[in-house]
């Protein structure tokens, strides 16, 4: 095992580089991914290492970028698209939802679209409502798309390699605030893959099960660490792939803890995490609950520009801690 500590940006770059080395049909395209090294520096020096033919700087035209990638994927290539902000995928939604996700099914399975669309998401950078959204449910509600939300560098590397291998279109949602933060776990050397559709039990505790996505996994981990010192045990589960969703570890955990809290950054209304609640409510594990299910999610508002309001609009560590304490204390 390696003990290398990378940031998520470095881990994603490493995964793309490994895929570039393994398969000549893999290439990267997007706005400023080449000479500039990517809006958040994720592609870095890849333009210089692999050349302009495999790292393509595109015009500012998201629909065209994704359309080109879908066409390339149908022609035997394995494109990796980077959209600068996930908010801009709205421009490309016809290619994503109507073309990439559907072609395999419209053509009776004759063709595949092995495309990965990477895009930074989330709030916390002071970039206001049009550059800060968490759009997980947009993609998770389109059959034909797989949706990956990594919460740390090691998972990001392994999941991205698996996503590039996958014959289906995969939406890969990276949180901006995680790009520069080293993970808690070292990133293994080499081409280690993490299968899509397998939830990860990040830590185990006896009192409360928390299911969180993306950056909320990290915030929940901080809370779990603090509560563990006081003897309150938290089992933290990171689905990693939100479509398809692996609920089995959640059921197994709730059968032991009896309490479930779900945390997401995106707005509560019709959010992805509601799917976890719905599946729990309809499962045989329901009878193991000793507390109402607690949901922590963003407010149903566009992300505000003012820093204090931006923070207040999505769950923070203090919110998660207070909610976790409340549920464990009040429901015995």
């Amino acid at each position: 095992m390696s003990d290398r500590m990378l940031t998520m940006a470095e881990a994603v770059r490493e995964a793309m580089s490994i895929a570039f080395d393994e398969r000549p049909e893999v290439f990267l395209l997007g706005e400023d991914v080449g000479i500039y090294g990517g809006a958040f520096g994720v592609s870095g020096d890849m333009y210089h290492r692999y050349g302009a033919e495999r790292v393509l700087d595109t015009p500012i035209a998201e629909l065209g970028i994704v359309g080109a990638a879908v066409g390339a994927a149908l022609s035997g290539m394995r494109p990796i698209v980077e959209i600068q902000f996930s908010d801009f995928t709205a421009q490309a939604m016809d290619q994503i939802a109507n073309q990439a996700a559907k072609i395999h099914f419209m053509l009776g399975g004759a063709l595949h679209v092995p495309m990965v669309l990477r895009t930074p998401q989330g709030s916390g950078t002071g970039a206001a409502a049009q550059h800060s959204q968490n759009l997980e449910p947009w993609f998770a509600s389109v059959p034909g798309l797989k949706v990956v939300v990594p919460s740390n560098p090691a998972d990001a590397k392994g999941l991205l390699l698996a996503a590039i291998d996958d014959p289906n279109p995969v939406i890969f949602l990276e949180h901006k605030l995680l790009y520069k933060i080293p993970g808690r776990d070292p990133v293994p050397e080499g081409a280690t893959r993490i299968p899509l559709g397998v939830s990860k039990v990040v830590r185990e505790g006896k009192d409360l099960t928390i299911v969180a996505t993306g950056i909320m996994v990290n915030k929940s981990w901080e809370v779990a660490e603090k509560l563990a010192a006081e003897g309150i045990g938290v089992t933290l589960i990171d689905p990693r792939t939100i479509s398809p969703l692996d609920m089995q570890p959640v059921f197994e955990s709730v059968e032991k803890t009896g309490r479930l809290m779900v945390v997401q950054e995106g707005p509560a209304h019709a959010g992805f995490i509601n799917e976890v609640i719905a599946q729990m409510a309809g499962s045989s594990t329901f009878g193991s609950l000793i507390a109402p299910i607690k949901r922590l999610a963003g407010m149903n508002i566009p992300i505000p520009y003012a820093p204090q309001l931006e923070k207040a609009a999505v769950p923070q560590i203090d919110d998660i801690e207070a909610a976790a304490r409340e549920i464990v204390k009040n429901w015995r």
Partner: protein, 343 residues
């Protein structure tokens, strides 16, 4: 601790004064369970089987088959470990003094008691899912479980508490069965209920003294020599009904102290045996449940029954039920009016 408890000739109708003992179903030394038939009685109107009010051992048979026994006089004596008897109907006489005895009877092997239908049911029970599963698995009726969770939701520990102490469950069941049986006996009586809002602050001692005083002024309604006010007190063992004799005639401070100490004792499941008989009216305070009223039901040999309900921070709802054989509607209205004035 075990107590001698006399099982007396019950009063089964308003006109009954004596009953003939037909035969015993038990002998000295027999172990009996609550609800077991002890003996049969014949009156001018009906024949009836008298059941054990609690688990225990038959210590002695006082009367003989064929004897005509006055109501309230002992027919047999039981030794029982049960200190709470929800209620001792059927007599307005003092029972033979209950004596604590040193020698405990052979230990009673706990067996499940089939509970009578609960008297007061909360049909919508809130419970966490696991508590429902657990209760169903163990045969616990959630309606009998005290909820301590948020928004009066039954939690796992509530179900566990209900289940962990079989002695408590058993006593609850015994108490309920006893109350249900008493209410059953008065079901055929024509009754009427009256309700009024009252703006007054009072504690239980003040209330029962005021109510006794109102009844004292209506000797025409009295079917007993004294006035005994039974106060329903909820405990984890179920309802206890200690009786306060002639509360209007005792010193107010002494009465307040007695009500306080008896309430505390009842909550701990211990009511002096001497306070379990002689009720002529019953008072049930619902205010701690935030309920405005429940139909106060008549207990056997009682002409009236009263509930106190919550209406607002400054007002309460007082409901009165009367036996129409003794009072007409006008009497009932006057009684309630007098009570409100007295408060």
């Amino acid at each position: 601790m075990s107590f001698k408890y006399p099982v007396v000739m019950p009063k089964m109708s308003m006109t009954m004064e004596t009953g003939e003992l037909i035969n015993f179903h038990v002998g000295v030394g027999d172990q009996v369970k609550s609800g077991d038939v002890l003996f049969e009685v014949m009156t001018d109107k009906i024949d009836m089987e008298v059941e054990a009010p609690a688990d225990g051992v038959i210590e002695s048979l006082v009367a003989n088959p064929g004897d005509v026994v006055e109501i309230g006089k002992p027919v047999l004596i039981m030794l029982t470990e049960t200190e709470v008897m929800a209620f001792d109907f059927g007599t307005d006489n003092e029972p033979v003094a209950a004596v604590e005895v040193v020698a405990a009877p052979a230990p009673v092997v706990p067996t499940p008691v089939v509970a009578a239908a609960p008297v007061i049911l909360n049909e919508t029970v809130k419970a966490v899912p696991k508590a429902r599963v657990e209760a169903a698995n163990r045969g616990v009726d959630l309606r009998t479980v005290r909820a301590t969770g948020p928004d009066r939701t039954i939690m796992m520990e509530d179900v566990n508490a209900a289940q962990l102490d079989p002695a408590v469950t058993k006593r609850q069941a015994a108490n309920k069965a006893l109350i249900a049986k008493g209410i059953e006996m008065t079901r055929g009586i024509a009754q009427a209920s009256f309700t009024r809002s009252v703006k007054a602050e009072f504690d239980h001692a003040t209330f029962i003294a005021a109510w006794a005083k109102v009844l004292r002024n209506r000797p025409d309604l009295a079917v007993h020599q004294h006035i005994g006010v039974a106060l329903i007190i909820e405990s984890k063992y179920g309802s206890a009904l200690p009786v306060f004799k002639d509360p209007d005639q005792s010193n107010r401070a002494d009465l307040a102290a007695l009500v306080a100490s008896t309430t505390q004792a009842a909550k701990n499941g211990k009511v002096p045996v001497a306070m379990l008989s002689g009720a002529t009216t019953t008072v049930f305070d619902l205010t701690s449940y935030s309920m405005s009223s429940a139909t106060p039901l008549l207990f056997p040999n009682q002409v009236t029954s009263v509930t106190i309900g919550y209406e607002s921070a400054t007002t309460k709802i007082v409901s009165l039920t009367i036996d129409l054989n003794f009072c007409d509607f006008y009497d009932g209205a006057l009684l309630l009016d007098a009570l409100v004035v007295a408060l």
